[in-house]
Symmetry: C2
Subunit: 423 residues, 2 copies
């Protein structure tokens, strides 16, 4: 089945907001085996939206629309879609009740324009929207499926996951099931080369690679009669990937991020953590702290951007700074030593680098970053050379730091368990 | 003139990357007075790209394409566009030389597939790409303008600013000139209401509002024979907006961000700064440190996520934490007092809040955040109630903190200069 993603809204059209909905829907559709050939963006304009709908109906089976379902005069996606399909709108009582309840719960007065949102095209399936006022709508017409969803991502995403995705799955013979293997510490091209033979020989399941900053995701997708059968098809591939990538795999669960994997590893081993950042200036701590429940492991984060604060707070030696410079293996090492000593955290991680645009030299170019990780006294240091602008260098540094934390903790336990502990 | 934005690439189509190019180009086009009615995304597929190009040629004057100019077999934007317009490709000597120089400068061997990038359609204008290997191409055909640009944003953005925008400006009668007035500390709907009369009465110049997290941008755009004339048209509007929004305007320069405005204010007043963060976990420091040159003002950042670290590092009193809780005015106040005392920074800013999803209560719901700013002993505290998920609450908190820093520094100097200093 072919899907087309249509985003309606002047804000996207004028570049006021980035179209994250389209990327989200496209990735989800790919995950359940739908082919997508086009995305369209069109403003809140009846004539132009009508044209886009007609074109899409001629070339796709499923139209996924977002935006333009709200209470204002500008919002006309539903009215336009109903017009194209020759359907009248009527007041949908359960939608009206849901709307009333939504406002009542928040202690807000309903203004008259809101009732428009409870009007739905004849013969459509109304989809609940617990996070907003406009319900979603599914219209089946001549073998085509026209699906209208609200534009705000915090309404669209849960509606898609809870209602639209199961509906789309139900349209397909059998089911599509995906599992993602997430990898860190290996570059994109190397990871691709490591699975090239599997990709070339693929049939069912298929394997796709997705490069993210400092990570590679491998998605294994199987089509089968039911989920049990699909899982059975996927299982040997996951096993094969585990054999090939080993400890570089940080999760096989879709919802687990790299920072969550690190926090989970800390929690599982009852380890506390402190961060010390120079060029990343708090971004590493910020990513860790985006994991709910991190408070059980996070001790303290320091942003020691100046040499003075590196000396004063972490006890980095003046001589080390003078001899090797702030961006050096020696300083990174003293930073994590100091952080462990002063915060009494089991794990300390330090980042020092040149994010640019200034401050680079021939010997130490922009993008040179040292990351150190201290796990109960065992210290690993990594030298990285990143490309891109200031923000890109900083983002890459954060991903590399999370990756090193994982590696260091795993190495510490494998040595503690299987061998002599490194001094 | 009507522009259509066409993004070519399987990565965007499959949702692997978000289409930031389209948002960037759309905003820039709006800024120079071009109307945009559609964006399209299509994969690296000759047949489908041909269809998109034909449709766009029938409804727009300018086609802005990005992506698909690279060296691989997949990259076929140029070949497809040339085919649609009935033009042959030839080897463009200057482009070949630029390609050779690009590789030589980086000490890299040129592989044969790269030469493809120096092939250009007959009669086209070749646009230099100092940041990559594929040049841009402008084709003028039957009054239409087909513009091909590389996909990577770090190549596309400078090419658009340096070459394509001047070209687009040259196509229009007279010129379009915009100036942006950036506002913080006032909500979107209030800001809109404050300029509603101007927007309703607008002709030339026009005024448009853009809501960002914690900020509102007002863009004043004039059309005139030359830049001098346009600036003259804009001037009284900027003056009027300054009168209406006063100190809430943090800049009238396009490239100045809120964090840069704050850093500039610190630099201008020779003030140092330290940050103390709980729920934002380093995001505030990270935004300040994204400003090149911040090292002259930034002393230290602390991430005191736990109560223990608030007490140990900042000297927050146990009794205050017990009586009022970590998310309270009292704790925020003691955090900035402690930060100023221990780091000797002139300005200290603290954020403590409930980012969710857990930890909220009826009395203190998710989204409740206290921000305190201490300027040389003068302390301001702000209570905020944000909505959205954990990340959204944290982003809103950071913007509000930057906004409060500005307000507090300005208030400190106005009191120091004009009145008694608050104790």
């Amino acid at each position: 089945m072919i899907v087309e993603i249509i985003s309606v809204g002047t804000e996207i059209l004028l570049g006021n907001i980035v179209n994250t909905n389209a990327a989200y829907l496209a990735e989800k559709c790919a995950g359940i085996g739908l082919s997508c050939y086009y995305h369209d963006v069109v403003g809140d304009n009846e004539e132009r939206l009508t044209g886009v709908l007609k074109t899409a109906l001629a070339r796709a089976d499923v139209l996924l629309l977002s935006g333009g379902l709200g209470p204002t005069q500008d919002d006309l996606t539903k009215e336009t879609a109903a017009g194209v399909l020759g359907r009248k709108l009527y007041l949908h009582e359960p939608a009206k009740e849901a709307l009333t309840a939504f406002f009542k719960k928040r202690g807000m007065e309903i203004t008259d324009n809101n009732w428009k949102q409870a009007m739905v095209p004849e013969g459509s399936i109304v989809v609940e929207n617990p996070n907003g006022t406009a319900p979603g709508i599914i219209i089946e017409d001549n073998g085509k499926h026209i699906i209208l969803m609200p534009g705000p991502p915090n309404e669209l995403v849960p509606m898609f996951e809870d209602s639209v995705m199961p509906y789309l799955n139900s349209l397909q013979p059998g089911i599509i099931y995906s599992q993602t293997v997430k990898i860190c510490g290996i570059g994109e091209s190397k990871a691709e080369a490591m699975v090239e033979d599997l990709i070339n020989a693929q049939d069912n399941p298929t394997i796709a690679t997705y490069a993210k900053t400092g990570e590679v995701h491998l998605r294994v997708t199987a089509r089968a009669d039911d989920e049990k059968e699909a899982k059975k098809l996927i299982k040997p591939y996951i096993k094969e990937l585990k054999g090939r990538f080993g400890n570089h795999i940080y999760t096989t669960q879709e919802e687990v991020t790299l920072e969550k994997a690190v926090v989970d590893l800390l929690l599982a081993n009852h380890l506390t953590v402190s961060t010390v950042e120079s060029c990343t200036g708090g971004m590493l701590a910020a990513r860790l702290i985006n994991v709910p429940g991190v408070s059980d492991v996070f001790k303290t984060g320091y942003i020691t951007y100046s040499n003075k604060s590196k000396r004063k707070i972490l006890g980095v030696k003046k001589s080390t700074l003078e001899k090797h410079g702030a961006v050096s293996e020696g300083v990174a090492k003293e930073m994590v030593k100091g952080a462990a000593l002063f915060t009494k955290a089991d794990v300390a991680v330090a980042v020092t680098g040149i994010a640019g645009p200034d401050g680079g030299s021939e010997e130490k170019p922009v993008g040179l970053v040292y990351i150190a990780c201290n796990v109960c006294g065992r210290i690993d240091i990594k030298e990285c050379r990143f490309s891109g602008n200031r923000m890109k260098v900083r983002e890459s540094s954060v991903s590399a730091a999370l990756s090193l934390m994982r590696e260091s903790i795993l190495a510490y336990y494998s040595e503690v368990t299987f061998g002599a502990k490194k001094s």
